[in-house]
Symmetry: D2
Subunit: 409 residues, 4 copies
């Protein structure tokens, strides 16, 4: 005999595909649904709403299914009960049955009303603070005694909305194939950056070493200098090659500008790292005149905050690199409030790390020549991610030209 | 008891890796070698020469091995005998034991002296003409009564030389990775094109539809208009989308310049094909004013010869397309004499077809965003092929800028 | 002042994403919609229906938009008028304004009632036969005097349905990534093949040379021998390497089974092609005992019809290869009636050619190691295409094992 | 007026391509060479030797060139001088002009004789210990007062040799394309693993999460259980999904064995990580019966040492994960002595990290479905690296079958 529960979804549930996705999840779980009622918004700005009665063979299946459905914004109707909260009994460990977060806007029912979660981030626990605020907390930061939400009762998740207005985000496709003209896309990304800035949002750039290798370092440096970049995330490799290309004129030993394609200077990046270590920090190396240009130089000069997250493959590393990756991720989290647009340039590791921390509302552009990387990144985390399969060098160069004539002061 | 034979290689056998390759083939076949004598050229312009005694367990292994070695330019020393020639007894079929060609310079010993093969092309037979000349002939063009070379006796193959002088061709690598700066490469390709033209050689472009889809159509059209392209090979798709983008402003229904990324005009290419069919040919459609710009338009206007080879996936096709692919390949062959440099732009099928017909001496540049395609193409055929992994749109655009200031008249 | 028109969509329009797609197309075209009424089916087997009033700035925009919408199954409500039909005035050319087909089920209003199109195929014209039947006709097969449908009036297109029941087709994703377990997928494909056969449908295999190169030739041969393959489409390369691997034990000169990875026998495929040419056909070569195993051998023995479509890169070609690609595509079309499932194995060219001719209802599985190829193929043509990113060798091997225990007699 | 220097290379310099590479580097640097004398070994086991006089325009060019040449084993003839050694004046910083290591066998001339470097590793400094031994030291481990080699005088590098005997390593190609049969390669890798073990060498496996996602976890677990794996390097993701698949039956929420392809359990990996954190370590979770199977379980049970290197994208992380990446790399280094063969399975980050620490003599196999990853990894570090482009799931499954019948006790 089937067990049932009614769930409700509200928002742009047709054009954002939420309703179809919810139906799909139900059927794929071997359960079934019946449409209780549905209201479709008249225009594309009106919201729609649907209620589905979900039926499954047993309670276990139904419960697991309801957890999945809620992760997509389908909340149980019959949940006037409060969220259940228990204390963590040891540091760094969530209580059993903890509510695992999505990156969608979320509210928790406490003391009779809905409290919004302050900083949506996926794969975290929810901690109720002493003053009643609710925050996501990564597992490693839980303290003994923290009041953690468990179960799924008393939790409401808002489904993602489709970006409004003329948008580079294509329908049902988070990817611009290598066979599409890129000049539009560059223009549209430039326009979104301008829009984000006009709306007072910060622009985050996550950059991989290929930005430097492909010769686009000076273009990204110009974007920083012109004030288009508010936060930079990268790794030891990006910063080392950026500095190498400015101090030595090579990237991984290959001349960045002109000349022969001769191999050479295989140790250049190591010498540069060693010298910056001698200075104690990138900022000190800039102050001492050792580094006189490039992305890191411009960040230091313009006081653009950056996080260089370490990785196990790093040479050196540079003194600014967080060798402790848990601290690196926390440093990244600390810079995310206010970020409205993220541009991920030929970075895999740091782009995934960033995507893990972003809330669903941050517009994200992923640029890489490797389709597999773009797919992987654009499918994660953000519901507003657009992947662009292209050579990052010409892309950043064109973006820099698009924005340069309108430098922000 | 082992059987042995002495082979000889001459040329730039160390720096072109021929000697190492030959040693490798011998060992991989389970055979062995002993260096009889070796002379290494003093400078990089002097030729070297080596003789190896090859020993195998039995005659069959040795014979098969000698065939493979000859394909790399290692010729038997003891071959003062003449080439053996037999008559083909039916059209379109080579005699059993026919000599299968490489694309390297080849000579045949007939009537006591070595006759060079006029048109080296791989995977053909060798036909001795009435006047003593020797030509490669694809199997389908053999006529009954043709005098065909069989066996490997009396045949001498010259190993490929490394390109001389400052060259974009990197050592032991026929590929420029996506993580290298492309501005050099573009400049170097432009320089090689100029060198080829100065040397009186023709420049061949093989283009795929992505050239148009990525918005680079006008840049390639300018290269044709400015006289940098002597021969064009493409398929129905390239020509149809080139014309579509000029007549309708879309490519596969996607607007080529600016505007929204709206889907639309899915039938545009079919309408364009239909109209050109009505005119009877692309040239007629140009004359009638139906086509007023683009690559095909410029080819018609400048009388740049082109071959559009059909494929089984074609819509239409355009009236100029060779529906018979054997005739298409023959039409391509007819335009190859004099070609010194080939530029393959986001084309797989037609690029492979072209590579099959090119002699080893033609410098070839393969540009594609897909590394697998680049590897496949650059490894085939030509020993002077350089693969470039990048987005073809910006590449052609930059190449066009590099060459435009020095238009040829 | 805006112009408006009401369109209607009916079917599984929510869970098949049709409604969302239609809304998206309208907005992307710069037009707008208002929901007139909507009925959502109660369960996942009930159909839904929606009417939207579409408004655009001018007639031209609206007309272009209606054409696009119809291609997705959104038909004008106010179209009681008959389809307009004009005679083609020359062979191989459709009349101006011809209706360009989709591969969806389509009906044409003639003489007061709706006549279904017999053989849906995309990018064709619609010809009304003397007896009132309507067929799709590729542009090259139009005859002078053929009665061709023009405009979009009196045409009704049915939107694609989602596959019913437990299905390997994932939601909103036509692709199985390389990071998913493949054993399920193989089992699911095997189950779909059994289902198709039980339903009386034919199974079509489109195979590329990599099937042979990766050592899966014998597995595919077994599938043919066991009766699981009803139709085979391939090119000269597949057939030549299949025969080469059986006659010579190599594929492109590389030993297919065990032994060293030695290069060798670079001319083997050419010798095999030459011998089959001597016999006159593959069947004759089988009868004469020259070919004694492999996929082509089994096709001949079991009288499984095959089409080998020529391409401009072919060596030889084999005598069975259609050198004329237009005739090849027509030969493929002739074998499609009754095909219910298509399996595309490491083929790009012939898989695209096949996809061009398939109606939307044919379940299609695309297997390739290159994600870009899979994406390209699975996105085209069929609405029921599932791409699988994996190495084709192990895939075909596992599929053959799955099906072998249940050989069909 | 040109400056000159004579360099000498000794070893398998023709068939290992060293001589050609050296000539290429000289010409690419704009310098020139003249062959002083050359001796080519008579058979493939005899060593060869060459002396080249290198001439450049100025001392700076010549000096830079000599550094590059030495990195490939071309040592200056006229270097009877001792290596120059200076003390590091601060911790974590090498003295200016430090000698930057390759991963090739290296010797340092001290007190009149050549001392071999104990642990070749690339991108390190060379430190002379109190007892005269010489070790590579990564920059972060340098102590104030360490005696560090500077310049290139008194240093001799041995060029890499080609692997001897029948070998899966193809000539001039470190890559097995996706279009080759994989059954050979699996058999050859299995044979190399047996050879390595018979020679007393350790086998290292570096594994990425896709091993688990593709369903190959149980096969790798069996290889560990059967004693074929001596050391395991991985990240938080691999270990978490391995444990998730054993505790929950899913990998990233996707069922690993059979059933539907339903999405679900998106939080499973986080719950598993949380529980292992509660236990305090993977070993404690195994002891407590929480983890009862899988790769990590087998490692604990068989006391196979493992290093889980943290990364900035990690959830949790598991308690065994090194959050400090510099310590992680040092922990990896500590386990490398004795390793003779490395198998890198669908890992990018940890595979690169491992490649950075391996000496050139370790046979390395890189398996990944993405050609770009394979190329990147197989081109780095080891001169004996073979890349295999294939789906890792079937590969590990087949390898496990190959080795299982011959389990080591």
């Amino acid at each position: 005999m089937a067990v049932t529960e009614v769930v409700e979804i509200e928002g742009h549930i047709v054009d954002s595909l939420i309703l179809a996705k919810v139906m799909d999840i139900i059927l794929a779980a071997g359960a079934d649904y019946e449409v209780v009622d549905v209201h479709i918004g008249k225009t594309n700005t009106d919201v729609s709403r649907a209620r589905l009665e979900v039926s499954a063979d047993d309670d276990a299946t139904l419960d697991a299914l309801l957890v999945e459905l809620q992760a997509h914004g389908a909340n149980r109707v019959a949940q006037q009960q409060h969220a259940e909260v228990v204390e963590a009994d040891s540091a760094g460990v969530l209580p059993a049955g903890f509510y695992s977060t999505t990156n969608l806007p979320t509210a928790v029912r406490l003391a009779g009303h809905w409290t919004p979660v302050e900083n949506p981030e996926m794969d975290c626990g929810l901690v109720v603070l002493g003053d009643g605020r609710v925050r996501t907390v990564p597992v490693h930061r839980v303290q003994a005694g923290d009041r953690v939400v468990i179960g799924t009762g008393g939790i409401r998740v808002t489904p993602p909305a489709r970006p409004r207005g003329a948008s580079p985000f294509e329908f049902m496709s988070s990817e611009v194939s290598s066979e599409k003209p890129k000049s539009h896309i560059v223009a549209e990304v430039a326009a979104r950056i301008r829009l984000a800035r006009e709306a007072g949002a910060k622009v985050l750039v996550v950059a991989g070493p290929a930005v430097v290798h492909t010769g686009a370092g000076p273009c990204l440096a110009r974007l920083v200098r012109d004030g288009w970049v508010d936060v930079l995330f990268a790794g030891n490799g990006f910063a080392a090659h950026d500095i190498e290309s400015n101090v030595m004129g090579t990237s991984l030993g290959v001349p960045v500008e002109g000349g022969t394609s001769a191999e050479g200077g295989h140790a250049n990046h190591l010498r540069v790292i060693n010298e910056v270590r001698r200075h104690g920090s990138i900022a000190a190396a800039v102050d001492a005149g050792y580094v006189t240009g490039g992305v890191m130089f411009e960040c230091v000069r313009r006081q653009v905050p950056f996080v260089l997250g370490g990785s196990v493959r790093d040479d050196g590393p540079l003194p600014d690199v967080y060798a402790n990756v848990v601290e690196a991720a926390d440093a990244m989290r600390a810079l995310l409030p206010g970020v409205g647009l993220a541009l991920m340039l030929a970075s895999t590791l740091h782009a995934i790390a960033t995507g893990n921390c972003l809330s669903s509302g941050v517009e994200t552009f992923v640029v890489d020549i490797n389709q597999a990387v773009v797919t992987k990144l654009a499918d994660r985390g953000s519901h507003q991610a657009l992947g662009v399969v292209t050579d990052v060098g010409p892309f950043v160069s064109a973006l820099s030209e698009q924005l340069s004539s309108a430098a922000r002061t």
